[in-house]
Symmetry: C2
Subunit: 124 residues, 2 copies
Amino acid sequence: MCGKGESEECCPVKDILARFGDKWSIYTILMLGKQEKLRFNELKAQITGVSQRMLTVTLRSLEEDGLVSRAVYPEIPPRVEYSLTPLGKSLLLQLLALADWAKLNINQILEARERYSKKTQPIS
Amino acid sequence: MCGKGESEECCPVKDILARFGDKWSIYTILMLGKQEKLRFNELKAQITGVSQRMLTVTLRSLEEDGLVSRAVYPEIPPRVEYSLTPLGKSLLLQLLALADWAKLNINQILEARERYSKKTQPIS
DNA sequence: TAACTAGGTTACTTTTAGTAACTCAAAATT
DNA sequence: AATTTTGAGTTACTAAAAGTAACCTAGTTA
């Protein structure tokens, strides 16, 4: 990708992968790809296992990168709608391909894990 | 992807993305995609910033999932060669597409970050 | 005899993620 | 009139993961 000793800025792939290199970003984009708009608690319900705090942190980071837009309606109780930006939608296409790969190959991966555990733990 | 309350096993996409949801896995596969075989220290030199421990941990995890194979030559000093398995190579294709997207859109993302920092930190 | 080598492991520190309780202000319920 | 509910978060705290640095192994070379 890049040479040695370069800064993050120089290396787009690494910089961007570092952003997705967390537990929730990719999954959040996939979920936002399924519906035009989603409110905070709708997202939270669909992304099984995410905590309120981590969803907030993830959405802020995606918003900062221009992948997700955040619309706040000044009501009480508050209403906030999240949606993918055009940039987010273009990334979604790549992530959908990745998701398809995952569905297609999950069995091979599970089998590999099985083999690995037998190889390293031969219960004597 | 899946409904609520399901276990990890039921949801291939989430399970697999959870594996790549770390700082080094994707980047390691991309590096192994550039050369048929790479030794531990060659990889370490190419993946800027990775520590010895994290490279070991990452490679073990990729090996466990059947994406990377590890060939140990019983010499002194030891020689260990890592390469992508056929499964790893099929994933590489998806990750290369993702890397291309990153190169193509890095500027838009950097501009978005710029806008975001100005919006949230208007130095009064 | 000491230093070097490649590919790790171990012990320890720092960063990040996860949990649970709390906030805000109006509207609805008791 | 006082209490509860509501959605979208914070805050403080704990657990887990990543980063750092020192150590190990056993043949070869200086």
